[in-house]
């Protein structure tokens, strides 16, 4: 084995939903691939042995929805700082959204983000390109050339494509490439001016509300369009009970529709905004307990394909404004796992295997990338988790540049201890 670098992870609970594995075992990594799974009698020339007793060994986690603000807003986050934060969160792959400045709406910009990701040498960076030029919602962006440059999907995220004819054209065009079109479902004619969920709380706080219909109508519209075009479609950050129903029907009809849910839409309601704390200002907005229950039920049913943070970093100075003026966004990449456990595993909505599936193989299948699995021969993207340790979320220690995290000070359970990317140990949690 001269010239090869090998790492042995020993005695952990391997959870690999892609291959239906959930058992105590060892994992041997050689260079950048998984070489062996099963009891490994320690060979003499293993370079590193990791004791994974009482730990979970899972495929590197995948986050389908992050904002790394580069190019354009590097003071909020760069691809380098975001990648580091992702690793700390156990994510070995993330998908960057195109609402940078300028938008990622052509092949050279896709290549730029890929290159910055490679240079950072942390998490693996995937890119979604914009659907329309400049994300203006009018003319199609060069979807074909961006796909050829490696973009894994297309979205105008930050916004939804408002014009139905444009959306239909985009779906038709994307079908030619069998490309994935994702949507931030928000009808701006209904949502414009709103800063939180429309409802009792918005009324008593005196703030303009965003009606759930703004999300649900665009989602319903898109599903009808997908019925016609057959294009692969991914509903980003769904947040309402109504949206869950639309997804349920779409899947029952066999349509190629997938969806994701964020941690904040599982843990927070608009009650949290009582003090006008802008760390709770997010789009789609925090909803109600009824919506949370519907989302959890959908997750238990297997209707939700992925959990995604929609990591949206902002500077403290940007968020320290009146609620109407502050930017939307919650940053949670580094503490996401603990949040998912709190929302789903602890209350018994799902178990660890289903949780890991929604963070590995299922998002990988949405993107159609060779990730999210831990079989022999697979790329050694591996996350080691301590599922039982309790800790306090401390945003000041985040590797991200941002601090707009409403979970600061929360007690959480489950931490990422080590993250391997292509067989390289790129993150180790500091001793606490």
């Amino acid at each position: 084995m001269s010239g090869k670098h090998s790492i042995l992870i020993r005695g952990g609970r391997l959870i690999d939903p892609a291959n239906n594995v959930d058992r105590q075992t060892d994992v041997l990594i050689t260079d950048d691939v998984v070489a062996q799974i099963g009891e490994v009698n320690e060979p003499a020339d293993v370079d590193l042995v990791i004791d994974a007793t009482d730990r979970l060994i899972v495929p590197g986690l995948i986050d389908l929805h992050v904002h790394f603000r580069e190019p354009g807003d590097e003071e909020e986050e760069t691809i380098a700082s975001g990648s580091a934060a992702a690793l700390a969160g156990g994510f070995t792959s993330v998908v960057c959204m195109p609402n940078t400045k300028p938008a990622i709406d052509e092949a050279t910009r896709v290549e730029y983000v890929h290159r910055m990701g490679r240079q950072a040498r942390k998490t693996f960076i995937y890119v979604m390109g914009a659907v329309t030029q400049g994300r203006q919602g009018q003319e199609l962006a060069e979807i074909g050339l961006m796909a050829a440059a490696g973009a894994v999907g297309f979205t105008d995220d930050g916004m939804g494509v408002q014009d139905t004819a444009v959306m239909l054209r985009a779906l038709k065009y994307a079908r030619m490439l069998d490309a994935l079109v994702a949507q931030h479902c928000q009808d701006d004619t209904l949502a414009r001016g709103g800063v939180m969920n429309a409802g009792y709380n918005a009324t008593v706080l005196g703030l303009p509300g965003i009606d759930p219909l703004a999300e649900e109508l665009m989602l319903w519209r898109d599903v009808q369009l997908v019925k016609k075009t057959g294009t692969r479609y991914h509903a980003q950050h769904i947040s309402t009970a109504g949206s869950v129903e639309i997804i349920r029907q779409a899947k029952a009809q066999g349509l190629p529709v997938t969806c994701e849910v964020t941690p904040h839409h599982l843990l927070l309601t608009d009650n949290a905004i009582a003090e006008y704390d802008t760390n709770f200002k997010v789009n789609p907005p925090l909803r109600t307990n009824r919506d949370i229950e519907a989302l959890k039920a959908a997750i238990a049913e297997g209707l939700v394909d992925a959990l995604a943070t929609d990591h949206a970093p902002h500077l403290k100075s940007e968020k320290e404004l009146e609620f109407l003026a502050a930017p939307f966004g919650i940053a949670s990449l580094e503490c996401a796992l603990g949040l998912y456990v709190k929302a789903l595993v602890d209350p018994g909505v799902i178990g660890w295997p289903e949780l890991i599936a929604m963070l590995t193989v299922r998002p990988a299948r949405v993107l159609r990338v060779a990730r999210g699995t831990l079989g022999v021969g697979d790329r050694a993207d591996i996350t080691i988790i301590n599922p039982d340790v309790e800790y306090v979320i401390d945003a000041d220690r985040f590797l991200s540049k941002s601090r707009n995290c409403p979970y600061n000070g929360w007690l959480a359970k489950s931490r990422v201890e080590k993250t391997f990317v292509a067989g390289e140990l790129r993150y180790e949690a500091p001793e606490r």
Partner: protein
């Protein structure tokens, strides 16, 4: 004038509005007739007296130099008098309806109206309103029958026939009257038509047309015997159906590289005017596989044939009418 197998065939249509309602034999008759007129172009006196004393009006409500010139020359070669009519130069700009315009011209004594109009069905409307012959030179995105006729004439000349021939039509099929007329002609003549382009440029319900559809040029290129590149119109009201010239050329442009993978004798066609570097690379447009200039030459013969045939049918109809009313 050389004739093929159709001596007993009588052309009975005094209008040529489109190819969708013609039978295979009728299309072939036009091609055979055109063959005879092609010969005239090689004589030193390039005229035939078939339409002497007759008046042909070019009623063009849309810009077109090449089709108009082609019809003018065709009419001249048949010794007809030609009146040119453009939309702005007439009383249409003062709000006169299409039918009134046609009737006013007819009152001056015209025999054939060649009409190009932005609205599909306009030639049909005119044909119902006047007695003269009507030839469709392109109506909206419905049909452009003489273009398709010269296209299939060219294919017949170069390939010898249509059975088993695979003809690809590439580009903005949804808005192309040239594509539509070609689909009708080629499918009736026995060729296999493959429409190629992005889904946003395909007509609705395309699967109900007698065609195959491919969203990838590369996927079907090697099976094609003939490829007809349509001109791409990039500036379009109401949103472009594809992102950019660059992306279109990348996926659907007929490049020198693609020609290397195609059949060595692939026949390259284009109705013109070509956008060099957009739908077709210069070297290909000017190369040995290209029959683009021959298409133009054939257009003249085909239009002479059409003018001749519709006029013959009108004379026949008048004669039958007189006979019927003689008692």
């Amino acid at each position: 004038m050389a004739r093929r197998r159709t001596d007993k065939f009588r052309w009975r249509h005094k209008h040529l509005l489109g190819l969708r309602d013609l039978r295979r034999g009728e299309i072939e008759h036009i091609l055979d007739t055109a063959e005879g007129f092609e010969e005239i172009s090689t004589r030193s006196i390039k005229k035939a007296p078939a339409l002497r004393g007759k008046v042909v009006v070019n009623m063009f409500f849309e810009d077109s130099t090449r089709t108009r010139n082609s019809f003018t020359l065709a009419a001249n070669r048949l010794s007809a008098d030609v009146i040119e009519f453009t939309k702005t130069a007439s009383s249409v700009s003062k709000g006169e309806t299409l039918i009134d315009t046609a009737r006013n011209l007819e009152a001056m004594g015209i025999d054939i109206v060649v009409i190009r109009h932005g609205a599909g069905g306009a030639p049909k409307l005119v044909s119902r309103s006047i007695n003269a012959c009507v030839v469709n030179a392109g109506d909206g995105f419905n049909e452009h029958p003489t273009q398709a006729l010269l296209d299939v004439y060219t294919i017949r000349k170069v390939c010898g026939g249509f059975e088993g021939l695979k003809v690809g039509i590439v580009g903005d099929i949804a808005h192309s009257r040239v594509a539509r007329s070609n689909i009708w002609a080629l499918s009736k003549l026995g060729a296999e038509v493959i429409l190629i382009g992005p889904p946003t440029l395909m007509p609705g319900s395309v699967e109900q047309l007698p065609v195959r559809v491919s969203y990838s040029l590369d996927a079907v290129l090697e099976e094609l015997d003939v490829i007809n590149m349509l001109r791409i119109q990039f500036e379009r009201l109401g949103g472009n159906p594809f992102p950019s010239v660059r992306e279109y050329s990348h996926f659907f442009g007929l490049t020198v590289d693609r020609m290397k993978r195609a059949k060595p004798d692939l026949v390259v066609m284009h109705p013109g005017p070509i956008n060099r570097g957009l739908e077709i690379e210069s070297e290909v447009a000017d190369g040995p596989n290209s029959v683009i200039l021959q298409q133009v030459a054939h257009g003249l013969a085909v239009r002479m044939a059409v003018l001749f045939l519709v006029h013959q049918a009108a004379i026949e109809e008048q004669r039958e009418h007189r006979q019927k009313h003689r008692g």
